[in-house]
Symmetry: C2
Subunit: 214 residues, 2 copies
Amino acid sequence: MARTTGSDGEKTEAAVREAAVSLIARLGYEAMSMRQLAAEVGVQAAALYRYFPTKEDLLFTLMREHMEGLLKAWEAARPATADPVTRLAAYVENHIAFHIERRHATHVSNMELRSLSHERLTQILKMRTTYEKELRTILRDGAETGLFQVDDTGLTAMALIQMMTGVIVWFRPGERLSVAEVTTTYLFMTMRLVGAKIDGREVAHVHEYAQLRT
Amino acid sequence: MARTTGSDGEKTEAAVREAAVSLIARLGYEAMSMRQLAAEVGVQAAALYRYFPTKEDLLFTLMREHMEGLLKAWEAARPATADPVTRLAAYVENHIAFHIERRHATHVSNMELRSLSHERLTQILKMRTTYEKELRTILRDGAETGLFQVDDTGLTAMALIQMMTGVIVWFRPGERLSVAEVTTTYLFMTMRLVGAKIDGREVAHVHEYAQLRT
DNA sequence: GAATTAATTGAACGTTCGTTTTATTAGTAT
DNA sequence: ATACTAATAAAACGAACGTTCAATTAATTC
């Protein structure tokens, strides 16, 4: 046999991407075989090579587009105001929303970096650094204006990102907590962690902060 | 050829464990071949099977002993006092010290869970849950006595553990920060995050807390 | 020093891997 | 209808994988 009825390149490629993210997240990149991926799509392994020249190209494409999506999402969500508290809140909300919505892709981008060539690894890490720098800038601005009590900007940024991204490890949609509840709690924990002052004083309880959210 | 001069089972097994942790941390479990591991030890691949019946047995052994070590370390470090602030501080200090000291093994235990059989995965996760429960208990005790301001004990425990374990991602011994400096900063961030009261008031600056450390 | 045990080698097994090549069919344009 | 292009199947490639087995040598025991 050969070309199947109703076959469509665009649809097949999209199906390959989707199945690849899911399979790599579940099994890991090395453990997933091209034959397994092909079977999930409903196609023979050779057909995959029409869309991605190598297995690593497939992985890199998924990662690059994930990181581009993250940067684009933040560009769209970034508030115009200079107020560090508002900016930090927007960063946290965007980060959590994006990562919960794309749990599998985030898993892939965070766990499979070592399967990339040196050059491509550098490319992905550059994007990641760009994203993390945004948070460091917010923290620095907040610390300089006295709104935040941050001891070490770089260390605090790493701690916050690790804490926030960790959501994807345990969060399951439709369980005990909603996305909104999780986000509120994380926002509050973040503001406490950086010692943020709102209306001139530190926020003592989560309910106070929840009311401030727009 | 066969048995080599000066060969010793105990030494070889120890060398295999050490090389395996290092190689799996760097390449990933699936990507590391038994031949690669054998070469690192300076032995033929077949010799490995004298010590570990399968590749998965090797992985499981490394993980189980890592988790057992973590639980043992906490049992030794756990303070006798009932004071939640002291207990939380001890938990943070022990967690960070242990994970920095065994960065590679932690990497393996956290990243390669999916390569375990269902039964063994359950075994490892049970140990992990036991360890995490210790933190939840501390947070609950602190919240009940009004010393902590914690909205959701389970969620806060996960956030803290993710934040602390994240140290191994960016921390490199001998660089900008010492282990002591990192620990102090993390201790402070933790106390801020849970809204801990010391001597009846919240700690505003890292220097205040650093002085309280024993 | 002979017998036994411990530790390892070297070669091989069957399987699976990523990938390539060639042929074949479905859709599209002329 | 015919020519052309897009999309796939089927089969095969060499390489590498985890693992096993028999042979061999070092160390130990008697």
